[in-house]
């Protein structure tokens, strides 16, 4: 005996999105374009972008892959703050006013919301983001739960670039390693199994390294994974002063 209940309809509303458009084949200048879409309260900004691309303007260009906050492809600036489009519910924004969506700042824009990520990846590569150890063990390298916890926070990074492109220093000085590279260096510097902390500390003890950080906390606030980025940078600064992790 099952009682058929009528499923309540998901509330829907119309929102206006203002998207920063740029097409190098059409114009040298970027400009704002407004779109109106009918959305549900369960929808995210990424769903709105999809709806625009599929139903209104197929030329709208943006990156997304997993669409569930893991791959880190769709970092954009929503209402002036770096966010993952796939993790930002539209109902959490002010739906009575226009929602602005623009590319992340400080990296060259290629088209619409797509930026050239290569300078960002290069800084990541420069800090040697892999385990460096000389010995060849017969079995796995053991680590105590305490040692593992030491760098747990910085293992969460998905390389979306939301932190690096929220940093005022990075906007004006593209040579700065940026928060994401330092977070990933932190992940190995404080890993007890790694033997080359000195090498990474030396790389980051540079004019364009950790000392460029001005502790604006934009990175910590922007991180979709909740990593305490500024804290990690401060820990690397202290490790350099101590000369060891």
């Amino acid at each position: 005996m099952s009682e058929v209940k009528e499923i309540a309809e998901i509330p829907s509303f119309t929102v206006t999105l203002s998207i920063r458009r740029f097409d190098p084949e059409k114009s040298e200048e970027a400009s704002w374009e407004e779109f109106q879409v009918e959305m549900h309260s369960t929808d995210r900004v990424l769903d709105a972008l999809h709806k625009i691309k599929w139903e209104q303007d197929g030329s709208l260009t943006f990156r997304r892959s997993c669409a569930h906050g893991v791959c880190g492809s769709d970092a954009v600036r929503i209402n002036g703050r770096n966010r993952l489009a796939c993790k930002t519910l539209i109902k959490d924004l002010d739906i009575n006013s226009t929602i602005t969506v623009e590319p992340i700042k400080g990296l060259p824009v290629e088209k619409d919301l797509v930026v050239d990520m290569n300078p960002f990846y290069q800084a990541y590569k420069d800090i040697n983001p892999f385990l460096l150890a000389n010995d060849k063990p017969e079995k796995e390298r053991l680590q105590s739960p305490e040692d593992r916890a030491r760098y747990d926070d910085t293992t969460k990074c998905i390389l979306c670039a939301a932190c690096t492109t929220s940093c005022p220093v990075f906007w004006t000085d593209g040579q700065y390693f940026g928060p994401a590279a330092i977070v990933n260096a932190h992940r190995f510097i404080f890993d007890s199994r790694d033997e080359q902390a000195d090498l990474r500390l030396d790389i980051l003890n540079d004019k364009e390294g950790v000392w460029r950080c001005r502790t604006t906390f934009n990175c910590t606030e922007a991180c979709p994974r909740g990593i305490e980025v500024t804290k990690a940078i401060a820990e690397v600064k202290q490790a350099i002063l101590r000369g060891k992790p």
Partner: protein, 125 residues
């Protein structure tokens, strides 16, 4: 290649604005120090010229600017302590927000404490 679009102003929170204020107050203090070193050095050139310059500062506008100077130095100094704590105190990054508001309240409060006496002196000009 591509043009970097200007876009909107990044809506950073307390941390970003404290950094902006720190910079602005720092530059303002630098210009004060520059003028201050020059006018003080003048006493070695000519004590009379020094007196004339110092006398010329006694206007209501400079008087109000002096209050701004007190506020700027207080903010810059106290926020400097906040930045040191963020860098060196293990819990500094967690409390940066509340530390900023403490800095602001102290800077405004101490400036306000000086204000009545200073305004009396300005009115005597």
């Amino acid at each position: 290649m591509s043009v970097v679009p200007a876009g909107t102003l990044y809506r950073g929170k307390v941390g970003m604005w404290s950094w902006v204020l720190h910079r602005v107050s720092g530059v303002a203090i630098f210009f004060f120090l520059l003028v201050h070193v020059l006018d003080t050095a003048l006493v070695r050139v000519s004590p009379e010229a020094y007196d004339i310059v110092i006398q010329s500062y006694k206007t209501p506008i400079i008087g109000l600017a002096e209050l701004g100077l007190v506020g700027a130095i207080l903010f810059h100094g106290l926020n400097g302590v906040r930045i040191i704590l963020v860098d060196f105190w293990s819990k500094g990054t967690r409390y940066q927000n509340v530390m900023f508001w403490i800095v602001l309240v102290l800077a405004i409060g101490i400036t306000a404490y000086f204000t009545p006496g200073h305004l009396d002196r300005i009115l005597e000009f």
